[in-house]
């Protein structure tokens, strides 16, 4: 089979090269789309991790009420880093933040009296970004009814918008990746199909001298798989080069966004998936094309089709 591949490259170099270039382009697009969508998701997740919830305690909240709320939050398994901010701490924070903007407000003792104690916490990291809004709403519903709770806040409007954006992007991303995958598969299988079609005579002659289906098809299937595998590896290398250049640009030109530290190339699992997909599509396209020609009567098909 290796001999078959060497001979094919030796005698149909330009055709094979053209096929390889088309396949590399196809897999570069696939890898690029996977990298971009993966990093977009990572960045959105980072934003999600920085989301905070606050449970404000009422003036009348007792120590028992506070403990019960803390226990409930701790036992829920949905939240992380629960921290009690006492009235004094809240006041100090407020002073620190407002001192330079409105020094007069700090003198208003009545106003400062209304700053409540609260529990501050983030969501557990295991909760997916699509589920964050739902979980926040559930926590709000459960905690709001507890004794000693004045109000629950998590920036409801912003979280709703964020959740909608994440869901839309997730659906659009999945649809886009699917369209790109199908298009790439179509282009690649056509390219392999055309490569084999041009060597139709070889299949005809092999049939006429009594070669079995396996004898005829296996070398082509192997060749298709090898072509797919090679092109995907080259495309991954090319994509990694592009990724590195982009990352360098992000850390140099727009460093203030602090994105470079958070973006990464596709995971090893995805890399294996791309290579596996490439080998599979190469082998499948070759098989389907050879099977269509190699029906036992390839030479007479040529008479009919006028090849």
């Amino acid at each position: 089979m290796i001999n078959h591949v060497i001979k094919t490259w030796k005698h149909h170099a330009s055709l094979q090269l053209a096929t390889l270039v088309v396949l590399i382009a196809g897999f570069t697009v696939i890898t690029g789309v996977l990298t971009v969508s993966n990093n977009l998701y990572r960045i959105l997740t980072l934003w999600g991790e920085s989301m905070q919830m606050s449970v404000y305690l009422s003036e009348t909240a007792t120590i028992e009420n506070t403990s019960a709320i803390e226990k409930f939050l701790g036992d829920s398994g949905k939240v992380d880093k629960v921290r009690l901010v006492t009235k004094d701490e809240a006041l100090n924070q407020f002073r620190d933040q407002m001192a330079s903007y409105a020094p007069d407000i700090l003198k208003d003792k009545d106003l400062l009296r209304f700053i409540p104690a609260s529990f501050q916490f983030g969501l557990n990291k295991n909760i997916s970004i699509q589920d964050q809004l739902k979980v926040m709403q559930e926590i709000t519903a459960s905690v709001s009814g507890m004794a000693g709770v004045e109000e629950v806040s998590y920036g409801q409007d912003w979280v709703k918008s964020y959740g909608a954006i994440v869901n839309t992007l997730a659906w659009m991303g999945a649809a886009f990746v699917l369209v790109i995958l199908l298009s790439a598969a179509f282009v690649m299988s056509n390219s392999i199909h055309s490569s084999i079609e041009q060597r139709r005579e070889e299949i005809e002659v092999l049939e006429l001298i009594g070669a079995t289906r396996a004898h005829i098809r296996l070398p082509y299937i192997f060749e298709g798989a090898l072509l797919g595998g090679t092109s995907s590896v080259l495309a991954l290398g090319f994509s990694y080069g592009l990724f590195s250049a982009t990352k360098n640009y992000l850390s140099g030109q727009i460093a203030f966004l602090q994105l470079a530290g958070h973006i990464e190339f596709i995971q090893p699992g995805f890399i294996l998936m791309v290579v596996g997909f490439a080998i599979g599509i190469g082998a499948l396209a070759s098989y389907l094309c050879v099977r269509r020609i190699n029906d036992g009567w390839a030479a007479s098909q040529s008479l009919i089709e006028g090849h």
Binding site: H12, E201, E202, V205, L208, I209, R213, G296, W297
Partner: protein, 220 residues
């Protein structure tokens, strides 16, 4: 060895390439097929070699019913016959040796056997010195001899030759016909289409005549 009954081959048009052909050739016979261009010689050979399918009738060749042959059986049938095609059908990306070796490779012969047998046949057709050449770098006559060598290499029970000496000079044509005679003497049935009436007369073999898709003469 060959038994054809009421064979018709009709192409779209309709064009009747073969009309009600009946034919019987016994094992070990040497038979010529003559007729003008377009008479149906090549079409008849295509039916006999399972290159193409007849429109109707029955074809039995080398123990296979070609009208009802399954795709799985086609390669096995083709391994039992040798065919010399008018257009040679050589693979241009393989050497003369590799082209001739193909019937043995697909049969699964051992490399040493292939080496020995291919060398022997190439010697017989006078192409041993060109074994490593590609078809495009040898003459038309040499390509024809390569096609003959490939048809003989696996010692088929039936040899079908469509104008096997068409591109050869008279002396080489006689050598090739002598070779086919020897092959026949060893038990192979030989069926040869030719335009060369002088050669047919000299060889004094059974001769079938075809005209307008019909067998019009059978001289023994």
């Amino acid at each position: 060895m060959i038994n054809l009954s009421h064979i018709y081959k009709t192409y779209t048009g309709p064009v009747h390439a073969l009309k009600n052909v009946d034919l019987k050739i016994d094992k070990g016979e040497f038979v010529f097929l003559t007729g003008p261009s377009g008479a149906g010689k090549t079409t008849l050979f295509k039916m006999l070699s399972a290159y193409d399918r007849a429109s109707s009738g029955s074809i039995d060749v080398a123990g296979y019913n070609l009208m009802g042959i399954t795709p799985k059986d086609i390669p096995h049938f083709r391994r039992r016959i040798g065919v010399i095609y008018q257009d040679f059908k050589l693979l241009k990306d393989r050497t003369i040796f590799e082209n001739v070796a193909m019937p043995l490779i697909v049969r699964g012969d051992r490399p040493q056997q292939i080496q020995r047998r291919v060398s022997e046949v190439l010697e017989n057709v006078g192409l041993f010195s060109k074994a490593q050449q590609l078809p495009d770098f040898i003459s038309g006559g040499e390509q024809q001899r390569t096609a003959i060598a490939r048809a003989l290499v696996h010692q088929p029970g039936l040899l079908i030759a469509d104008e096997p000496t068409g591109n050869l000079d008279p002396e080489l044509s006689e050598d090739i016909m002598d070779l086919l005679d020897r092959v026949c003497a060893q038990g192979t049935t030989v069926f040869v289409a030719t335009h060369d009436h002088d050669m047919v007369k000299r060889r004094k073999r059974r001769t079938l005549q075809i005209k307008d898709g019909q067998i019009v003469g059978d001289l023994r």
